[in-house]
Symmetry: C2
Subunit: 196 residues, 2 copies
């Protein structure tokens, strides 16, 4: 029972991810999600309160996955530069390998959904440990060691991840090629932007 419960829920989530990535939030009716998932439209509402809640759930799950990805490969004993290079490569690689998740994330982040979400995360009471703390720590450690420019963490974040997102996008949409060497050089450039 629990098995099939999760199976349907997972099917709905997977279908929604794929369809929204391609057609956008408003180009994918719940009926389409249900059909692709092989369930009735009503079944969606057994697992999610509303379409919005489904979308938030997708985002939450994606964030969890990425956080895990970072934590798995993170080795605090590496030199800072190595840690940054690895971090950048892991994230860029993940998005290249999971284009649907990237395109979903992009649409989410730049929509009113994502803005509200981000605003809450920054100005809300952060009781729980969000994964960004690792990044924040990483930047602060770099500043303390005087290997990273002394700037607000948010700006350093933009300098390092802004290009990664942009390059991932170009790659996923087929506008550029990206071999391993070029990925390395790209992340190097991101590092050059934040290093002292």
């Amino acid at each position: 029972m629990q098995e099939s419960y999760c199976e349907k829920k997972e099917a709905i989530l997977a279908s929604a991810m794929e369809l929204i990535a391609e057609h956008g939030f408003h180009g994918t009716p719940t009926s389409m999600i249900a059909e692709k998932a092989g369930v009735g439209t009503g079944t969606i509402y057994r697992y999610f309160e509303s379409k919005d809640e489904l979308i938030y759930a997708l985002h939450k799950e994606l964030e969890r996955k990425i956080k895990k990805l970072i934590l798995d490969r993170y080795n605090p004993n590496d030199p800072l530069r190595v840690r940054f290079m690895l971090l950048g490569k892991v994230i860029l690689r993940y998005f290249i390998d999971n284009p649907n998740e990237f395109r979903f994330l992009e649409q989410f982040v730049y929509s009113p959904y994502g803005i509200a979400c981000r605003r809450e995360k920054i100005f809300g009471n952060n009781n729980q440990d969000n994964g960004n703390d690792i990044l924040k720590e990483l930047f602060n450690e770099g500043i303390a060691q005087q290997v990273i420019r002394e700037m607000p963490v948010a700006i350093l974040h933009s300098l390092f991840f802004g290009p990664i997102m942009s390059v991932a996008r170009d790659r996923i949409l087929g506008f550029i090629e990206l071999d391993e060497a070029m990925i390395t050089r790209t992340i190097e450039s991101c590092w050059n932007a934040v290093k002292l």
Copy 2:
């Protein structure tokens, strides 16, 4: 007559820009745009074939404005680094001063609209001279002079403008402060990412 013709069209464009920036494409019905513009809903369809056409028109006008902005301040006699610094500052400043246009652009670019638009621009037959050619030339000149890393122009573009967009966003949403000095340092960092 011509006067009032343009006035209404302008009013519709301005209202749409403002409302879409705040509420998103699907959060702003045509009725809302008409009301804010002080016209009947039907009037919109005298000036634009459909809501989609209105949105494309908004994007086109915005692109034109930004292209003009760049051309106005562009001085080919400046050293490359100076040209890049100026370019970055001008664009960042423009977005900070025109948050609605930035938020509209962001939503457009990352939606299925923008993807189709970009795809056409890259793979379509580019008969007309699009303003990006100046950027392309700028990057190529930098590579030829051996002051910029030798990478595909699209990647250099991402490295330089990715962070600018990201920082503009954070600033507009009120997540960071940005004084003149910090803007300069930010654009410096963008330059560091692409320079040799």
